[in-house]
């Protein structure tokens, strides 16, 4: 029987995995979002409202929140089309902060005091969602849809010239990413059974980005490696303890320097595929 502490760690990995995947999905179209904690917060508060105040079962609440967050993601995605690179990053940063500020001000959900009352979900439940979504993405990566996304990321103009509608693809990615982040938030809320706006800050958005960049920014399982790394590594390197953030900062710089695509990349999977075919 797993210790509560260890179970908590694994729960964190699952929740961070989903957050990282939300960044990964949007990044697959060439857009870097520094504000996905905002969508996570929307998911957390919405599911909590639904289960605690409206008495909705948690699975349904998660689905509803994901759809709603996805719609908001689409709405955010449209103006985001106009911005590229650093400007998009700044705008998403602003969005994330606006959402946090919004919930700070939302007295009905506790404001700065936070919200509680959610019932606790099991580790198995969290990982059912996390594994299912990861699997979905791994399958989608082999589809035409993902190839289209990669084309838009690599060269938007050329993508248009082979008939791809970059607008639909980029906005759709925002929506999908927002939905996945919302599920991360809903699971977070029902695992920690208490949420406050500070849980969904810029630092959280950065955690997502860090997991993707370190674990592998060009393949879905990279998010899993990154999430596991960020949560579990400090446990095995106890001596680092209070210096673990600095270690991750240094790791980020080192990774950008030495292996920009992160730990996992497509070439690795190609090698496995070829080995199996041989």
């Amino acid at each position: 029987m797993m210790s509560t502490y260890y179970a908590g760690l694994l729960a964190d990995v699952g929740i961070l995995l989903l957050g990282a995947l939300s960044v990964y999905i949007i990044l697959a179209t060439g857009q870097l979002s520094l504000g996905n904690a905002g969508f996570m917060g929307i998911g957390a508060y919405m599911t909590s409202y639904l289960t605690v105040i409206a008495g909705v079962p948690v699975t349904l609440a998660l689905v509803v929140a994901a759809v709603a967050s996805g719609a908001i993601g689409v709405v955010v995605g449209f103006p985001a089309l106009r911005l590229k690179g650093i400007y998009l990053a700044m705008a998403t940063l602003g969005f994330g902060e606006m959402v946090r500020s919004f919930f700070l001000n939302l007295g009905a959900m506790g404001g700065s005091e936070g919200f509680h009352g959610m019932h606790h979900i099991s580790l198995g439940y969290i990982w059912t969602w996390a594994a299912a979504i990861l699997l979905l993405i791994v399958i989608l990566e082999r589809s035409r849809v993902w190839l289209d996304m990669r084309a838009v990321r690599d060269d938007e103009t050329a993508a248009g010239l082979v008939g791809l509608n970059a607008t639909t693809i980029k906005v759709g990615a925002f929506g999908f990413g927002a939905a996945v982040a919302a599920i991360s938030g809903g699971l977070f809320a029902h695992h920690h059974v208490y949420i406050e706006p500070g849980n969904f800050s810029f630092e959280r958005s950065i955690d997502f980005v860090l997991a993707v960049i370190l674990g592998g920014s060009t393949v879905g399982p990279g998010a899993l490696v990154g999430a596991a790394l960020l949560v579990m590594l400090p446990e095995y390197l106890r001596f680092l303890a209070e210096w673990r953030f600095a270690a991750f900062g240094a790791l980020l710089v080192a990774m950008l320097l030495v292996r920009r695509q992160g730990l996992l990349d497509r070439a690795m999977f190609r090698v496995f595929a070829l080995r199996r075919a041989a």
Partner: protein, 254 residues
């Protein structure tokens, strides 16, 4: 409408394009008929690439219209024009940095009519796409580099990949922007033969090129642009002897 009353494949009617005060194109009219290879030549900066950009929807014409099979496409977005049957390559090759040659041929395919098919792994969902990609791969003799990252290939092969990508969706018209720039005689000859092969499969080609020998050898008709204005058009032999054309080129060099 062309002289025979047939609707041309591509027609530009009095197309002008301005950027602020700069007149990049002024009253350009040209047409491309089915099964033709038409060349657009002229000194650097004459507006040839701008004309391509207007045709493919990257720029919107300030005045005039662009017609494909008689239907106006002047205001259409790029991706819809591509779907309607116009494909192009670029002066500075624009391949997808992170994709293999094979992936280029897959992504250039038209989408299946069932949107849900697009979510399935390509291995299962699109047998026709795989077949077509294989066909194009063999046509362009790219089998050996199928799984290589396109950007890691030599220049001449990259140009072939770009053309292969353009041709995959069976366009009606192919716009080639300096397809043999920087190539030696043998490489250019390979491309020339490919283009003739393509024309024989029913494709029309409109090309921009500086290599005079290449153009004279290959094109059915030529248009000459200078400072955004059409200064001559006709058969290669006529163009070669046209004093205005010589002036334009020599004037630019002087």
């Amino acid at each position: 409408m062309s002289a025979t009353g047939q609707v041309p494949l591509l027609a530009l009617n009095q197309v002008s394009k301005e950027f602020g005060g700069i007149h990049a194109l002024t009253d350009i009219s040209l047409e491309v008929r089915p099964h033709e290879i038409v060349g657009v030549i002229g000194p650097n900066g004459a507006g040839k690439t701008t004309a391509f950009n207007v045709i493919t929807g990257a720029y919107r014409a300030s005045r005039g219209e662009v017609l494909l099979d008689g239907t106006p496409i002047t205001a259409e977005p790029s991706h819809r024009i591509a779907r309607a049957g116009i494909a192009r390559t670029f002066q500075n090759i624009r391949l997808f940095a992170d994709m293999t040659v094979w992936e280029h041929l897959l992504v250039a395919q038209p989408h299946s009519e069932f949107p849900l098919r697009r979510l399935l792994p390509m291995r299962w969902g699109s047998p026709q796409a795989l077949r077509r990609a294989q066909e194009v791969l063999e046509f362009f003799d790219l089998g050996a580099v199928r799984d290589r990252l396109a950007r890691s290939l030599p220049y001449g092969i990259q140009r072939k990949v770009e053309m292969a990508r353009a041709v995959t969706a069976r366009p009606k018209l192919l716009l080639l922007d300096e397809p043999v720039a920087g190539m030696n005689h043998d490489e250019a000859d390979t491309i020339r033969k490919l283009m003739q092969k393509l024309r024989n499969t029913g494709l029309s080609i409109l090309l921009i090129e500086h290599d005079m020998a290449f153009v004279m050898n290959l094109c059915d008709r030529l248009y000459v642009l200078d400072f955004g204005v059409m200064i001559a058009s006709g058969l290669p032999a006529e163009i070669r002897a046209n004093p205005a054309v010589l002036d334009a080129y020599l004037g630019a060099a002087a």
